[in-house]
């Protein structure tokens, strides 16, 4: 074949493909007239023309491609969306959550992009519903209030949450941080000054995690130390627990597990060890810091987290039971496990503070002052001759599937377990 003929074939093939692409593009999936697009939609949805005047317009809308997200004919989803509202954004924005992300913003994980973004347009960058931290504090209300009320603030926090956090997900860090601490903190804070070194007792804290002592959101303690500070930290006596700052391993502790804490908290440890039943994590390798943080905490008692989160580390089943329960038991609901339980040790099962469940419940429920079903050491449980009736005979304190923590769906079914002659 001659070169001229080959070139002609290539030319016509190219021309055909270009024309085909142009026609296909003009028609789109709904075979709209060329140039119709969003204009057609706006002929009815006139109010949207205002949306187009906003500073930031979502790209498909700006291009007049309403059908990028909506199906103009029919849909199984609200707002005639062409896909699930919690998934449709990912059709284009599929790289928002990196694979195997270390932390993901809950709303992002749930696909609730519209919690923060206006899908059409906004005067805020990235089509955000509100600018600055105000948007974050709509969900993180408690944190917002704490930041506003703190005696000692952290200036970047007052400016914008995004100074330290990434809003969607992070491949490398926990807590949606833009960098893990201390690297994040060291972007602003210089550690080579004499004052800094002196304040930190010459320990190489630039290698440690700042947030184990400081509350990055601010606090009511100087140097934004968390609100509850362990006495040795407050008194700058780090070497009470750690090796000397110029040693080979300055952060290594002098003893392990409870033995380290026992040096000061001997009374508490000795009392616990004198009880019949010990909370086993107290004497495992991690010891006290299974539940407590050794430096500073925003929780009382230097707890690592809220009490329900700390107890829930191991007893997630118990908390889940309460979540499922039709009736909430106030102390559990409020995360006050220690109203009933002694967290270190006890002479009774379940590490209860009181010897009997009747005494335990009576702390809040003054049944003694009212008429009550017979309970107590003299009342034998008809179901089991080795048991006497107490509160747990009818109620499961962490909750059941039924109301009032009853073991059965209705009172009659419960009663006839013992009062068998009334069984139907």
């Amino acid at each position: 074949m001659r070169l001229r003929e080959i070139l002609a074939i290539v030319f016509y093939a190219g021309l055909f493909l270009s024309l085909f692409a142009a026609v296909a593009g003009a028609e789109g999936p709904f075979k709209l007239k060329p140039g119709a697009g969003g204009k057609l939609c706006l002929s009815c949805h006139g109010a949207f023309s205002g949306k187009l005047q906003a500073k930031h317009v979502h790209t498909p809308l700006a291009k007049g491609e309403c059908s990028g997200c909506h199906n103009p004919h029919a849909s199984n989803h609200g707002m005639l969306l062409s896909g699930d509202a919690n998934a449709i954004c990912y059709n284009c924005h599929d790289s928002v959550v990196p694979p195997e992300a270390k932390s993901v913003h809950q709303v992002v994980g749930e696909g609730k992009c519209v919690a923060c973004h206006d899908p059409h347009s906004s005067d805020n960058p990235a089509n955000l519903l509100r600018g600055g931290s105000a948007l974050c504090f709509e969900c993180h209300k408690e944190l917002g209030e704490k930041i506003a009320a703190n005696k000692f603030g952290h200036s970047p926090v007052k400016k914008n949450c995004l100074g330290c956090h990434t809003p969607h997900a992070s491949a490398q860090t926990t807590g949606l941080l833009t960098k893990q601490d201390p690297a994040l903190c060291l972007d602003c804070h210089k550690t080579d000054g004499a004052t800094f070194k002196k304040k930190h007792m010459n320990y190489p804290v630039e290698q440690a995690r700042c947030s184990t002592c400081h509350d990055p959101h601010g606090s009511n303690s100087g140097a934004i130390l968390a609100d509850h500070v362990h006495a040795p930290i407050k008194n700058q006596m780090c070497a009470q627990c750690h090796n000397e700052p110029d040693s080979a391993q300055p952060f290594a502790v002098k003893k392990s597990s409870f033995e380290l804490c026992q040096g000061c908290h001997y009374e508490m440890v000795n009392t616990a060890f004198g009880k019949n039943r010990l909370h086993w994590p107290l004497v495992d390798k991690t010891g006290c810091i299974n539940c407590h943080t050794p430096h500073a905490s925003s929780e009382p008692g230097l707890l690592k987290d809220t009490m329900s989160a700390v107890c829930g580390q191991c007893h997630a089943d118990t908390l889940a039971r309460q979540e499922r329960s039709q009736t909430k038991h106030q102390p559990i609901h409020d995360g006050e496990c220690t109203v009933c339980h002694s967290p270190h040790a006890s002479d009774t099962v379940f590490l209860q503070k009181e010897a009997s469940s009747i005494a335990s419940c009576a702390q809040c429920h003054d049944w003694q002052t009212h008429s009550s079903h017979p309970i107590g050491a003299e009342v034998v449980d008809p179901r089991n001759r080795n048991l006497t009736l107490d509160c747990l005979s009818c109620h499961r304190t962490h909750g059941t599937e039924y109301v009032k923590f009853l073991y059965y769906a209705d009172v009659q079914t419960l009663c006839v377990q013992c009062h068998t002659k009334y069984r139907r």
Binding site: S257, W280, V283, D284, K285, D317, V349, N386
Partner: protein, 299 residues
């Protein structure tokens, strides 16, 4: 009914049968122990141990042990061993009838002779560093070797019958909290992680533990006691869920039995379980103040 609908239903039923775990053995309730020979009631019995001739109960809140003679699969109260100042939690017995118990108050293993005399605590000899240990649980093998679940130094210590150090295996990385261990008939060591709902195995001769199953939380709430039945299967006591679960030697879940309650065959926050070579399975039904005894029947 149209043939295609019938076909669909049969396929679904088959799918359910294939997907559902199969309980490999039947368990028949044999009896319930409520008291000693003098009719003094058990009080929060936490532990139970059994061999071919007897069953011993840790009558925890009464600070005593109660032994029952096991004859032709019937149980008769035989002896009571008061142990003031001791809080017996879990137990093991030897073929000769000696009893080892974990004292909850001192967190020590105490040896009690067949006649009930306290022979002293188990003090390991020749332990490599660290020398400190806290036993959360322990098991004996047929040779009398002691396997200590040392939660303080994160290891399983293997001691011979005279408490001399033989070897140790470090806990695996990333565990939640180990509550119990069990021995396979071949000499493997199983670890029960109550918090993560996981089971680990160190095969005979192995130097480390390997994860067998990390999904037990689907079937149990908070399992605290583990025993091997001598045929290769494992039984777990689900304390918070008041039930019993069975797992194959490979870690595969086989089924779940019983539930919370006060009748025979129901548990109320049970403690330890034991299984003997004759297929007797006993559970310290702690908060029901009793011990329930079952027979594991062949398939």
């Amino acid at each position: 009914m149209r043939q295609s609908s019938l076909h669909k239903i049969l396929v679904c039923l088959l799918g359910v049968l294939v997907a559902a775990p199969v309980w490999a053995a039947k368990i028949k309730h044999q009896g319930t122990l409520y008291a000693d020979g003098a009719n003094l009631a058990l009080n929060l019995p936490e532990g139970v141990a059994c061999n071919e001739k007897s069953l011993v109960v840790a009558d925890t809140a009464n600070s005593r042990l109660v032994r029952y003679a096991l004859t032709a699969q019937s149980l008769t109260p035989e002896a009571v061993f008061p142990l003031p100042e001791v809080v017996p939690l879990t137990l093991q017995t030897t073929a000769a009838g000696d009893i080892y118990l974990l004292n909850g108050k001192t967190r020590e293993i105490v040896k009690v002779g067949r006649s009930g005399e306290v022979q002293g605590k188990v003090e390991p000899k020749g332990l490599p560093a660290p020398s400190a240990f806290v036993p959360r649980s322990f098991k004996l093998d047929k040779e009398g070797n002691i396997y200590l679940l040392d939660i303080l130094s994160e290891r399983v210590l293997v001691l011979d019958s005279s408490a001399s150090y033989v070897r140790h295996l470090p806990f695996p990385q990333g565990y939640g909290f180990f509550s119990d261990l069990a021995l396979s008939p071949q000499g493997g060591i199983y670890l029960l992680d109550s918090v993560a709902g996981a089971l680990y195995l160190a095969a005979p001769g192995a130097q480390s533990f390997a994860l067998l199953n990390s999904n037990l939380k689907e079937y149990v709430n908070f399992a605290t006691s583990l025993a091997s039945d001598g045929r290769g299967d494992l039984y777990l006591v689900d304390q918070y869920g008041s039930g019993l679960a069975m797992v194959g030697g490979d870690g595969g879940f086989k089924g779940r039995k019983f539930g919370m309650g006060w009748e025979d065959g129901q548990f109320f926050y049970p403690g330890q379980l034991c299984i003997n070579d004759q297929g007797i399975l006993a559970v310290a039904d702690r908060n029901n103040n009793r011990v329930q005894v079952f027979n594991i029947l062949e398939d």
